[in-house]
Every structure is written in structure tokens, then in C-alpha cells.
């Protein structure tokens, strides 16, 4: 999977949050905190579930607990995507 450029990734994450929370994407910025967006813990697990599906990643439980803002979420997803791209599939190298 090719690496997703940062701005596109942020837009995609925001889209997922917007869909899950049933709120307009325009109301979400990179600097929005979950508190501002009224995202509670239950909403959080819903968003994580949707992100895992969207990016085909697995977000660990301890990673979930540290998420406080959209920026945290984008950075977390970016780092998981990076890890994934570094794992060289057998037979490819």
C-alpha cells in the first residue's frame, strides 16, 4: 500500500470521524479535541472501529486510551500505516 500523504490522510480521518459522529466534516479541524467534538468513550471505540476498517489497520487498546484530539488520531493512524508499509511481505524482497 503506497504511503498516504499527510493532508489526504488527515482529510480521510476527519471524514471517518464525521460519518461516525453524524456531524459535518467542516465542523472538524486537526486541532479539534474530542471534548470539543463531544466524543465520549463509547463514540471513541466506534471511531476506532471505523478507522480500523477504513485503513485496514489494527489499533492497540493502549493506543486508543491516549487519543484526545483529531491530531493525535491522524498521527496514530499515520504511524500504524508506516509500520505496516515497513513490513516486507515474504517473497517480495
Amino acid at each position: 500500500m503506497p504511503e498516504i500523504p499527510e493532508p489526504d490522510l488527515a482529510a480521510k480521518v476527519i471524514q471517518v470521524i464525521a460519518q461516525t459522529q453524524r456531524i459535518p466534516a467542516e465542523s472538524i479541524s486537526l486541532d479539534s479535541t474530542f471534548e470539543q467534538l463531544k466524543i465520549d468513550s463509547l463514540d471513541g471505540i466506534n471511531i476506532v472501529f471505523a478507522l480500523e476498517n477504513e485503513f485496514n489497520i489494527s489499533i492497540p487498546d493502549d493506543g486508543v486510551q491516549n487519543l484526545r484530539s483529531v491530531r493525535d488520531t491522524v498521527n496514530g493512524v499515520a504511524s500504524l500505516l508506516k509500520q505496516k508499509s515497513e513490513v516486507v511481505p515474504p517473497g517480495v524482497a
Binding site: 459522529q21 453524524r22 456531524i23 463509547l42 471505540i45 466506534n46 476506532v48 472501529f49 480500523e52 476498517n53
Partner: protein, 402 residues
């Protein structure tokens, strides 16, 4: 012991989204059992049901709320809103602590559960949606009502199949009578039209391929229905002092278990529930003017219920009017007791017995004073409402005109 007034009613069913809409149909014998919106593929053996097809969830909840609320919980909340609004109660201060919510449902939220199973077993996807548990839990309706009104007293769910809602109303009645709470929202809800549930009912071979015809000689099964019913019950003196309109009174409750067979009905258990409900209310059989029967429309239920009524009422059964409103709103399972308690209270209030629709031929095995097809005006003082559940669990309410 405190007397127990009914000060609010709420109803969502195939006949309407409010008590008033539903009563229009109930009081004129209109049958709400219609062709299914989704007849299944391959087609179900039955193609009719009493769906609440005019119920539009987004009229009542935001899109975000609907993510959390299964259809059965929506029915519970919407019928509770109507009942609470009519009662005029607000739950600030002490009343919030001294109010109970008891909401029945046979199976809770099946749609999320079936969606999860589909992912797991059909799609081979081990990732099940995170809200599956809170959507599915049978107390989702009770908890939603508690959150919505800020009610902090005893809140719980009863799941005793088709007797769920008579059990909830009976328990609320007992709690107010004994002074444990001042008021209660009691009733139940059910949303049966999911593929898994319909296939399971199909396999039981108890659903009519046509429409249910309770007590009619040519009856051939029940008709499934969905919806919710809620009653606000209130300490009589509390209601009187605040000048609330009292819509009726719950006077007696009886419950029993057949301990006979898991699905096959018997005479003794239902007879006990009726007898005990009458004794509980200090009501003699010949004082009861109307019985809203369990009357499912299966061969076994209706003849057994007839025999049980005959056992308890003796000759007084001849003068007691009997109907099954399931012929109009279908068998709403965990909501049945509540939907039918609302119908019974409205019958008392209006002096009008809603009929057994779809009735064609008298059955000697159902030799009761059946109000068939046309509503009947009558001077009603006491009425009884029966529910008999799979598992052999019987619950009977006795209500009085206010």
C-alpha cells in the same frame, strides 16, 4: 395499601403511532395485519404481519441517537414519552428517585445481533460492531427512558416472553401499592421483524399463513406484530392531590407458572393467574364486564383459554364480553401485555369494547361471549387482561374504570 391510578398512556403499533391513532382503529375494528414490507428470500411461509409501518424513527430521534437505539428501544422511548406527557409528571427532586421504570421485551435488540452474526459466520469477518452489546441488551429501552427523563429509582427489564409486559405492569402496581415508589413507567416493546426471528417463528409453525382469527373455528395461527406500550402508574392520592386526570385504576394482579410444558398451554396455570388477580383486587367474577383475552389465534391457545375462563368464571362467563385485540395489532410478544392494557383501559374509559376482527365462524370449543368484528358499546366497570407466555408463564391484570 395505596390505590394505583393510571395517569398516562402511550402506544406505538401497527394501528398508529399514538394512543389516539391506535384507538381510532381499535374502536372501529380495523385490522393492521398487512402484507410484509420484506417477504423474505426465499419467501416466508407467512406473508403478513402487523408492522408499525408508519413509524418513522427520525421523527423522534437524531441520527446520532439512532446509532445507539434499536427499533424495540425506540418503541419503548416513544411510547413512554407519550405516556409521561399525558401524565403531566416531571421527575425533578424526590419524584425522580421515587419513580420506577419497568420495561418488558422478549428478546431485546435482534438487528444488531443478527448483523454481528452475519459478519462472523457469513462474511468470515471476526470484527463485530462496537455498539452491538448496548444496542442488543434487553434493558436498552428501560435505560433510554431513564436517561431521557432523569429517573433514578428502580429501573429494570423483565423478559418473560409474551407475559413480559403484564409482569412489568404487575410489578409496578405492587411497588406503588406497597409504597416503594410513588410512580412508575411500565410496559414493554418488541421489534420482531428481523430475518432471524421471522425464520425462527416460521419454524415453530404457529404463524397464520393469512391473518389471525382468534376464537374463530377456522383460526390457523397467530399474526406477529411490533410496537410498544407504556403506562404511567401513580399513587392515587399523589395523582389526586396534583389534580391529574385519572384514566383508570389497576386493582389486581395475578401470576402463575404452568410447570407443565415449555410451549403447550394448559388450563390450570392461566386459571390460577385469573383467579389470583381477581382475589388480589377483591373483585368477584360476575363483576368483570370485559376480558381482553390472550387470544393468539392458535388452535391450542384459544380453546385452552376458553376452558380456563370457564373454570374461573363459571356461568358469569356468559355475560362477560371477550375479545382479542391481537386480531388488529397482532401479537406484539413482549409488548403484548402493555399494548392490550392500553386497549383495555381505553375500553373502560370509552364504554366501548374493541372487537375481535377477522372472526368468521363460532367454535364450540370457544363458547365465550365473543365481540366479533364490530365494536360493542357496554357499561364497563371492571376488565381483565390476560397474557400467557411460552415457558408456561401466565400474568393477569384487573383494571377498573376511574
Amino acid at each position: 395499601m395505596n390505590r394505583v391510578a393510571v395517569t398516562g398512556l402511550g402506544l406505538v403499533c401497527a394501528l398508529g403511532n399514538t394512543v389516539a391513532e391506535s384507538w381510532d382503529s381499535l374502536s372501529s375494528g380495523v385490522c393492521g395485519i398487512r402484507p410484509l414490507q420484506d417477504g423474505g428470500n426465499p419467501a416466508y411461509k407467512f406473508q403478513k404481519g402487523a408492522e408499525a409501518s408508519s413509524f418513522n424513527p427520525s421523527d423522534h430521534f437524531t441520527e446520532k441517537e439512532l446509532v445507539m437505539l434499536e427499533r424495540f428501544a425506540q418503541f419503548a422511548a416513544v411510547s413512554a414519552r407519550e405516556a409521561v406527557k399525558q401524565s403531566g409528571l416531571t421527575f425533578d427532586g424526590e419524584l425522580g428517585d421515587k419513580t420506577a421504570i419497568i420495561a418488558g421485551s422478549s428478546v431485546g435488540g435482534q438487528f444488531a445481533e443478527e448483523e454481528g452474526y452475519q459478519r462472523l459466520y457469513k462474511d468470515g469477518n471476526p470484527r463485530v460492531a462496537p455498539l452491538t452489546i448496548p444496542r442488543t441488551m434487553a434493558n436498552a429501552g428501560a435505560s433510554r427512558i431513564s436517561l431521557e427523563f432523569g429517573i433514578h429509582g428502580p429501573v429494570y427489564t423483565v423478559a418473560t416472553a409474551c407475559s413480559s409486559s403484564n409482569h412489568t405492569i404487575g410489578q409496578a402496581f405492587g411497588m406503588i401499592r406497597g409504597g416503594q415508589v410513588i410512580a412508575a413507567i411500565a410496559g414493554g416493546s418488541e421489534a420482531v421483524f428481523s430475518e432471524g426471528l421471522l425464520r425462527a417463528w416460521e419454524a415453530m409453525r404457529v404463524v397464520s399463513p393469512d391473518v389471525c382469527r382468534p376464537f374463530s373455528a377456522d383460526r390457523n395461527g397467530l399474526s406477529l406484530g411490533e410496537g410498544g406500550g407504556m403506562l404511567v402508574l401513580e399513587d392515587w392520592e399523589h395523582a389526586r392531590k396534583r389534580g391529574a386526570e385519572i384514566l383508570g385504576e389497576v386493582v389486581g394482579f395475578g401470576m402463575s407458572s404452568d410447570a407443565f410444558h415449555i410451549t403447550q398451554p394448559c388450563i390450570d396455570g392461566p386459571a390460577k393467574a385469573m383467579r389470583w388477580a381477581l382475589a388480589d383486587g377483591g373483585v368477584a367474577p360476575d363483576q368483570v364486564n370485559y376480558i381482553n383475552a390472550h387470544g393468539t389465534g392458535t388452535a391450542a391457545n384459544d380453546s385452552t383459554e376458553t376452558a380456563a375462563i370457564r373454570t374461573v368464571f363459571g356461568e358469569a362467563a356468559d355475560s362477560c364480553l371477550v375479545s382479542s385485540t391481537k386480531s388488529m395489532h397482532g401479537h406484539t410478544l413482549g409488548a403484548a401485555g402493555a399494548v392490550e392494557a392500553v386497549a383495555t383501559l381505553l375500553a373502560l374509559r370509552h364504554g366501548l369494547v374493541p372487537p375481535t376482527a377477522n372472526f368468521r365462524t363460532p367454535d364450540p370449543a370457544c363458547n365465550l361471549n365473543i365481540v366479533a368484528n364490530e365494536p360493542r358499546e357496554a357499561n364497563l366497570m371492571f376488565a381483565m387482561s390476560n397474557t400467557f407466555a411460552f415457558g408456561g408463564l401466565n400474568a393477569t391484570l384487573v383494571m377498573k374504570k376511574a
